[in-house]
Point group: C2
Chain length 355, copies 2
DNA sequence: TTGAAAGCGCTAACAG
DNA sequence: CTGTTAGCGCTTTCAA
């Protein structure tokens, strides 16, 4: 069997309570005693039993993360940000994938909630009401300071993410706003606006926005693009591509050509690349004949041919923010986006107007 | 507080043991009693407390998964396979990312081991000895049958993955062979051989293999390519690209051109695409001037321009196999690979020999 | 500053 | 088939 508190207590010739205190509240134990205990802990290779600890503290040390589809390259980087920060805070991440199924998401939400101290929801497909119902409305509590005295992460108790009402859990949603639920917001509208401005600067005055039929960030990006278009005197043509994927982008190609535009802003990089792909097949040269801008800056963007100009979505930072918010370490500021110019947009062409 | 076993027992007017049995060993409870109990379970929304259950059974219901880098598109699909199967088996997956750091991997191995019932190691960077030391050498136990009687996954206890000696855990490694440790093998050599055969069929007789400096599957793929080359009378030129990434592939471009070959087999798709990218820049036309074959068939392969011919690595299946093996549901067969022909290889050209 | 005792929620003998 | 009893390993009063 594994080494238990009792084993350490026996070896250090103290009671189990003292060992327990030495681990979790070092300042409440005489320094000499503590040193002796920690020496034994190390010698015996003692690791606290999480289950036993949870049973009594009510905390698990786990942070749940729910994503719609891990194979969508947008999410792994977000997860990396979450995982990194969680690890720093002695939390172990529990990752679940809903396969884009809202029912599965609802299921996971209720399954995971009791097993974790906090939950990060990425790209949730659930209606606001479900999220509000799941979120703990009474978050509180301080962050437990990183205990430098004890080496292994597991020896440190997990930070207190707040009291949890039955079936509810501290929750944070990423890239979405739900009244009453903490969230990490990202400036989608601003990013889209900057993309339109960029295209306008290059001389484009008739631009297509290729997006999916619906979706939270789609609406934000579209709105941002529309407002910029109005301000700059650009004609914005909406083209719908069914799904926000490579495939969806491919299917939008005909609509784009029909629209008679000289440039395109796509809802995301996947659509942009699908579009480029199909247009290649049509003999359209990019960026000579048509400029394309994507959104997100997933890894593929720079590997595309030609490399894709895009708006960087700060995924890693968003993940970190999410954890910080759960730990009440950060206010819910809006993260900025940034235009990354690559070769999929043409050089400056003086007012040629629409074609 | 949450609903406990005692609450259900009180409501159904039975003892807690009976409720416990109704959940975990339905056949040992009178059908009427059981029905009544399950009705109360549902009515009250009872969910077993995992920590309490773990404490006594010694099982956690968690399956650990360790990957080197989740942002590498190779892994998410593998994880999806694992997660899917694990979920079917009432196991919750605990995913950890080592960031390609062997020390972090060793750390995670020891941190995770006591919290999980089994561990899947993907693309491990650790020496055999570490893996053997961590693996439980005395695996056993039957699979708990999927209990159809109880709806929610969490109500079913996790399957027994075998007795665990101190600090050891049932372990399976994916795409690697370690003596004494269960593993999921994939036919890397065969895939590489088939790629060479394909290129030979198209008329290529001088072919480059572009790989990283080292690595388990690299060696297997290289060996497979070499053997096929000898058999078919093909000259195989090895070109080293430093790392097995897009970048590594780019850096190998000069070497490939210098080698005077008419075709290339890359260690993986990322390198293949990096190589294509750089060659595009050099004005080399693909596949007219040079045919390229990748390996793995990550999603980007078909989005590349031109779409990349590649060898499909059955990631999803490998993930499922891994879980099946942990559950002693499957023998360690070798999974096959498969050539996927796309436009990055040229049409048949009669023996033009090397250039 | 330390120890004794209680108990978190559950399962597993063991009787009945 | 069901209830009683004990205790998993830990933290936390409460006293000393």
């Amino acid at each position: 069997m594994a080494v238990t508190l009792a084993d350490v207590a026996r070896a250090a010739d103290v009671s189990t309570s003292t060992v327990s205190r030495a681990m979790t509240q070092p300042e409440r134990v005489d320094e000499q005693t503590r040193t002796r205990i920690l020496a034994e802990v190390r010698r015996l290779g003692y690791r606290p039993n999480r289950a036993a600890r949870s049973l009594i503290t009510g905390r698990t040390g786990y942070l749940g993360v729910i994503v719609p589809d891990l194979t969508n390259p947008f999410f792994p980087e977000l997860v990396a940000g979450i995982q990194g920060r969680a690890h720093e805070r002695s939390l172990t991440t529990l990752l679940a994938d809903t396969r884009d199924d809202p029912d599965a998401e609802r299921d996971l939400l209720t399954t995971l909630a009791p097993q974790v101290d906090g939950l990060v929801l990425c790209g949730s497909r659930l209606p606001d009401a479900d999220l509000v119902a799941a979120a703990d409305p009474v978050p509180a509590a301080d962050l437990v300071p990183a205990a430098d005295l004890v080496p292994a992460a597991d020896l440190v108790p997990a930070p207190d993410l707040g009291a949890v009402a039955a079936g509810r859990v501290p929750l944070v949603v990423v890239n979405r706003t739900v009244p009453g639920v903490p969230s990490v917001a990202v400036d989608n509208a601003g990013g889209a606006a900057r993309a339109i401005e960029h295209l306008r600067s290059l001389g484009h005055t008739r631009i297509a926005y290729v997006g999916p039929a619906e979706g939270y960030s789609h609406r934000q990006r579209l709105t941002g693009a529309q407002e910029a278009a109005v301000t700059l005197g650009v004609q914005l043509i909406e083209v719908e591509g069914a799904s926000s994927t490579f495939d969806g982008g491919q299917r939008a190609a005909d609509g784009v050509l029909f629209g008679g535009v000289s440039a395109v802003l796509a809802y995301n990089d996947a659509m942009a690349i699908g579009l480029m792909h199909r247009l290649h097949g049509y003999g359209v040269r990019i960026p000579e004949d048509l400029s394309i801008v994507g959104f997100d800056d997933i890894a593929i963007a720079q590997m595309a041919y030609p490399p894709l100009t895009t708006v960087r979505f700060p995924r890693q930072e968003a993940g970190q923010q999410a954890v910080d918010q759960l730990l009440r370490n950060a206010e819910g500021a809006t993260l900025g986006t940034e235009l990354v110019v690559r070769r999929s947009t043409a050089l400056y062409r003086p007012e040629e107007g629409s074609r």
